[in-house]
Every structure is written in structure tokens, then in C-alpha cells.
């Protein structure tokens, strides 16, 4: 097809709006559209259907609201401000603030955050406002404590820098402990898989070439009217990770579709409901809107690897994930979503109903969003300590059938607390500590293999010092062998090494 991006060859925005006005528009949800196209073919259905409605309802951390409190008597230029004890951003004019979803209460921490403040405001609950100032000739007041409700505010505008991810990676955990992540609770040893995104209802999959969604697209946001105001942060459409920046009047929104959330030991967030109408302006848009769950894929990543680039364990479609089970390493593993398919469907249905009743009209975007965007990492340019900078490279090792007494005296002679046990190729097979040896001597054991720990926690030389310090603390151990990819021992890193470093840094 040589049609231009956004070509209105099947119908124009004006024609659709005319039909909405008289109640003749054919509007279906993305679920219905997928089923119709599978039954009767793309060409036929694309000619009949004017608009496909989409929906998604998930935790969207890059969300928040600009608030204008109005001026008190005497007035204050707020320098710091808190809403229900959650700090709001005050690097703006006197009584403007931005409350972000992931900001956390200074008294309640994880249990209450900016997302909850937004939910409480939309629920018309009273919210405590506290602010401090340094006082100026034009703004003499230095402190204020009062309560506000949403309708007191001059403006309360939800402005979310990144919403409605086209799709998201699924998560699992290869380690031997429970992980608490922004992908929810991940059980050890690939115990479960969590995933996010609305699959075939997801707004950005239904216009994956960005032919209709752009700056000025009218949408359903938090149960009220909102607009797309640009590409979202980390927009990466070529990788099917498109995102949106959106805004909407908080006063029109409903608490059902804006829900404060806490991810255990991760932080607070906000569940946001987004519904976007996709006008079927040409066949390419129709083809995209007809994408079914079994053709929308995501990678299941191992969140047990504490790195920016986590390895993919498996690739699966949303149809696979929705079955509630996937097979990993020959085992059937339970899957479950984190975003709500029930609410996503409800949002797509609501948008459809609004259009059928003539309450919602389409807007042609002032500018379409880019369908190519580089996604760059953050390079750490300062020198950062790595394991190889901290570790002791000269390691006292032993063999499994070495004698306990010999190694005990070696420990005393070398003044070490940890002895990695290696095979003939210097590959790690176990570890003993001075405590293990004392116990072994007391119990009259003779060979190291009888007393060694075989499940050894290890480090790699390129890991950052921070990550390794955290691992030592988490495992409640005082040292770890450093191994290469073949598990050959190349060093050891202990809490003594870290203490030495701290002393050096203090001097």
C-alpha cells in the first residue's frame, strides 16, 4: 500500500462525527472487532465499522497531578508542601504543586503515597495540606496547615508523562528467595509468572503504526475526558513499547478508574484507566485493530538478575499468558496479570456507550506521534567500584577430600575466615568457614566434604560493589567467592574488604 500515514481513505473524522451526532456510528470494542474480523474477514468488517474502542487499566507509575491551591491571607510562596504527609513537587510558582504517584508518605511510607492522594481527592475526601516557606516581602507567610477538597482547587489536572505502555515484559524469578518487585510478588525457582498490559484491548496495539493517535487525540482518562499531549517518556514504538503522555481534568474523573496502589516492598503507584477510540480510517489501521491476543507477544524476563538487561526465559503470546499456565524448563508454571482485564474491557465498553449516545466525539490529532524512537540507556561515567576493585585475588582454597585439621591450621596461618572448596580445575564446589571447621573438629569429622556448604552464594567480578554489599546483607553472610563464567574461583569478597574500603573512604 502506498497510502500516506494517517490517510483517511475509508472514512474521515468529520464523517464519523456526523454519524455519532445522529446516532448512526458503528462502534465496537477491540475484543468484538477481533472476533468479527476472524468471522467475516478484514475487508468486509473494515468497511462497516467506524470506530474500535480500546481500554487498559494498570499501575502507571509515571502519573501525577498539577494542583493550584489558590492564595491564602496573608499569602505564602510554598517552598515545601505535603498532602496527607506525602511530599509534592514545589519547584513551581507560589501555590502550584505536582503530586506524583510514587511519592510516599513521610509517616506511613509504603502504605500511602501520591497515588492514594489522587484517589482520595477524586473521591472528594478531605486532604490535609501542609506547607513551609522562607517568607518574602511579597509572600510574608512562612507556614500553613489546612485541609482541601478537590472542588476547592482552581485547577487539578492529571498530567501523566508515561501511560498506556503498548505491552510490557512478563516476569519470573530464578533465585531461591521471594522477590517483591514492581511486577508483583515473584515466588522462588520460577514459582510463578506475572504480566501486565491489556493484550488485544491495548490502545497502542490497535494503532501500532501511529496513524490516528497523536497530540490532541481525545480519550477516556480516569473515567473522564482526557487528551493525548504527546509521546510518553521511553516511547519505543519500533519495539512495540509505545507510550503516551496524557492530561485530563481531575474534577471530571471517577475514583473507580484512578486507584492508589502499593507494590509490597517496592513502592506506591496509581492504577489509571485509559480508553482510546481508534477510527478505522484506512485498511492498515483496520489490520492493526484486528490483531488478536495470539499475535501479540511478550518476553518472560528473569527478575532474579539484578541488571538493566534481564535475560528472557521464554517468549509467549497474551493468549498463552491468559490461559493461566506456561511451561518453563518442562514445568507448568502459574501465570496471572497485574493489570485488570475486567476494568480494561469495562473502559472499552464505556467509551463505546458514550459514542453511541452522542456524548463523545473524535478529534483529528494536530500532529501524529513518531513511530521510530531511539531508547537510550544511562551510562555511568563516574568511576564506580566493582567487585574486582574490592575483592582479594589471592584466595586460600582447598579440595573436598582435604583433612579438616590441615585446613584448620591453614586458616589460622593465613588469617582468613572463608575457604572456597574447588575441584581439580579450580571450579567451585563448596565453601567452609572458620566456624564450620571449629564445629567439625568438635564433632570429630575428618574430611572437608562432610562439613562444607555446597550451595554457595557467589559474586562476579563485574558486578557493582553496591549490589554485592546488598547480597551479603540479605543472605546474612560475611563473604562470597568471586567466580568467572565457568565457576572458576578468581577471588573472594568479604565484609572485611568492605569495612577496609569504608575506612579508606572516611580518611
Amino acid at each position: 500500500m502506498t497510502e500516506q500515514v494517517g490517510a483517511e481513505t475509508l472514512r474521515t473524522y468529520e464523517q464519523i462525527n456526523e454519524k455519532i451526532k445522529v446516532g448512526d456510528a458503528i462502534v465496537v470494542t477491540a475484543d468484538e472487532f477481533v472476533a468479527h474480523v476472524q468471522d467475516r474477514g478484514l475487508d468486509t468488517v473494515a468497511r462497516e465499522v467506524d470506530v474500535v474502542t480500546t481500554g487498559t487499566f494498570g499501575a502507571m507509575c509515571s502519573s501525577g497531578a498539577f494542583l493550584n491551591f489558590g492564595h491564602s491571607e496573608p499569602p505564602i510562596k510554598m517552598f515545601k508542601c505535603w498532602l496527607n504527609d506525602v511530599p509534592a513537587y514545589k519547584g513551581l510558582a507560589a501555590v502550584d504543586a505536582y503530586i506524583g504517584a510514587t511519592a510516599m508518605s513521610e509517616s506511613e511510607g509504603f502504605d500511602y503515597g501520591g497515588g492514594h492522594v489522587i484517589e482520595d481527592l477524586v473521591s472528594r475526601k478531605e486532604v490535609e495540606l501542609r506547607a513551609e516557606a522562607y517568607g518574602t516581602d511579597c509572600y510574608p507567610r512562612k507556614a500553613i496547615e489546612t485541609t482541601i477538597v478537590l472542588d476547592d482547587l482552581n485547577q487539578a489536572v492529571l498530567v501523566n508523562p508515561r501511560n498506556a505502555y503498548e505491552h510490557y515484559n512478563a516476569a519470573t524469578n530464578s533465585t531461591d528467595r521471594i522477590l517483591y518487585t514492581y511486577m508483583g510478588t515473584l515466588l522462588p525457582d520460577y514459582g510463578n509468572v506475572t504480566y501486565s498490559g491489556a493484550g488485544q484491548l491495548s490502545p497502542l496495539y490497535k494503532d501500532k503504526n501511529f496513524e490516528t493517535i497523536g497530540i490532541g487525540t481525545r480519550i477516556l482518562l480516569g473515567g473522564g475526558i482526557g487528551y493525548v499531549i504527546g509521546e510518553g517518556t521511553q516511547h519505543s514504538p519500533q519495539n512495540e513499547f509505545g507510550t503516551l503522555m496524557v492530561r485530563g481534568d481531575l474534577k471530571q474523573m471517577k475514583p473507580r478508574y484512578l486507584r492508589g496502589a502499593t507494590y509490597y516492598r517496592y513502592g506506591t503507584s496509581l492504577y489509571v484507566g485509559v480508553g482510546i477510540p481508534i477510527p478505522i480510517i484506512n485498511l492498515r489501521v483496520a489490520e492493526s485493530a484486528a490483531l488478536p491476543d495470539d499475535q501479540i507477544f511478550t518476553n518472560i524476563l528473569d527478575y532474579g538478575v539484578p541488571s538493566r538487561s534481564r535475560p528472557a526465559v521464554k517468549k509467549g503470546s497474551y493468549a498463552d499468558l491468559k490461559l493461566g499456565k506456561v511451561v518453563i524448563n518442562g514445568r507448568s508454571i502459574p501465570t496471572s496479570p497485574l493489570s485488570s482485564f475486567k476494568y480494561a474491557k469495562e473502559i472499552a465498553e464505556a467509551l463505546k456507550a458514550w459514542m453511541k449516545e452522542g456524548l463523545f466525539f473524535l478529534s483529528r490529532p494536530a500532529e501524529l506521534l513518531p513511530n521510530q524512537r531511539e531508547f537510550k540507556p544511562l551510562e555511568v561515567r563516574r568511576h564506580e567500584l566493582r567487585v574486582k576493585d574490592i575483592m582479594t585475588a589471592k584466595v586460600t582454597t582447598a579440595k573436598p577430600n582435604d583433612d579438616v585439621r590441615t585446613i584448620a591450621s591453614l586458616i589460622v596461618r593465613n588469617g582468613v575466615d572463608h575457604v572456597p572448596i574447588v575441584d581439580d580445575d579450580n571450579r567451585l564446589v563448596g565453601i567452609v568457614t572458620s566456624w564450620d571447621l571449629a564445629k567439625a573438629l568438635a564433632q570429630g569429622k575428618s574430611k572437608l566434604e562432610e562439613v562444607m556448604t555446597t550451595k554457595v552464594i557467589t559474586a562476579q567480578e563485574n558486578e557493582s560493589g553496591d549490589v554485592v554489599a546488598r547480597r551479603l546483607a540479605q543472605r546474612n553472610i560475611s563473604g562470597m567467592p568471586v567466580v568467572d563464567d565457568a565457576r572458576k574461583v578468581i577471588g573472594i569478597v568479604t565484609t572485611d574488604d568492605l569495612a577496609k574500603l569504608l575506612r579508606k573512604w572516611k580518611e
Binding site: 487499566f57 494498570g58 499501575a59 502504605d111 521471594i178 517483591y180 508483583g184 510478588t185 515473584l186 515466588l187 514459582g191 510463578n192 509468572v193 506475572t194 486507584r259 492508589g260 496502589a261 502499593t262 507494590y263 509490597y264 503507584s269 492504577y271 493461566g324 502459574p334 501465570t335 496471572s336 496479570p337 497485574l338 493489570s339 485488570s340 482485564f341 475486567k342 476494568y343
Partner: protein, 129 residues
């Protein structure tokens, strides 16, 4: 049936539970236990019904261990629940499932009160009473 057992200072050191398991042959499973010199509290699952269950309860009574039935193991507040599923796959015994319309359902019989779901719920809709 799940029971909450309360031991007193005078019977906490007796092997009451083991005696009952041996006497009745019911494989009682300990779900939670807090024991000190001054007494103890346990939550157990008794996989028995009818006469057998009555027998177990009577034996606890005889040993002066209070055994009260726990009706709700966890409670889901459906007013708050957003049917997301964040509690479903973390449940280690698949006691929580989602059916066709994605509504979350709890099978109390399977629940082992590990309370992983309580923390996994992003909107705090699950509580342990």
C-alpha cells in the same frame, strides 16, 4: 476445617497435638505456631469431617486446649478489589483463581494462611481476620 488452638502455661509442654494425631490417625497440619513458656497459639488444618472431626475436637477439649474454628482464613473486600490478578499466581497452593470474567475467587479449603496474597494485593483488598 481450620482450628485456632490456644495452649496455656500448664499444657504448653505436653505433646497434645502428636497424641491426637496418633490416637485418631488424622494427619493434622500445622499452619502457624507461636509457642513460649507462658502458652502458645497454633493454627492447624484438620482434614476430617463428621465423627472423626468431633473426636479430634473433643480430645483437644480433654487436654484443656481451646480449639475454635476459623471460619474465614482470609477476606477479600470486593468493593476494593479491581480483579487484577496480582494475588493469583503468587498463591503457592492455587487457592486463588480467576474465572472467565477475571473475578478473583478464593477456595478456603486449599488456603494455608501463608498470607502472601495479603501483601501481593496492590489495593489492600485482602485481609486476614
Amino acid at each position: 476445617m481450620k482450628l485456632r488452638l490456644l495452649y496455656t502455661r500448664s499444657n504448653v509442654s505436653n505433646p497434645v497435638l502428636s497424641d491426637i494425631v496418633l490416637k485418631t490417625g488424622v494427619p493434622i497440619n500445622i499452619l502457624e505456631a507461636k509457642v513460649s513458656l507462658n502458652g502458645g497459639e497454633m493454627v492447624v488444618d484438620v482434614p476430617a469431617t463428621g465423627v472423626k472431626l468431633d473426636e479430634v475436637r473433643e480430645l483437644f477439649e480433654k487436654a484443656s486446649v481451646s480449639a475454635k474454628e476459623i471460619k474465614a482464613v482470609i477476606e477479600i473486600d470486593y468493593e476494593r478489589c479491581i480483579s487484577c490478578g496480582a494475588c493469583v499466581s503468587p498463591c503457592p497452593v492455587q487457592a486463588i483463581t480467576q474465572k472467565t470474567e477475571w473475578d478473583v475467587e478464593l477456595d478456603e479449603g486449599r488456603c494455608i494462611r501463608c498470607l502472601i496474597c495479603v501483601n501481593a494485593c496492590p489495593v489492600r483488598a485482602i485481609r486476614s481476620p
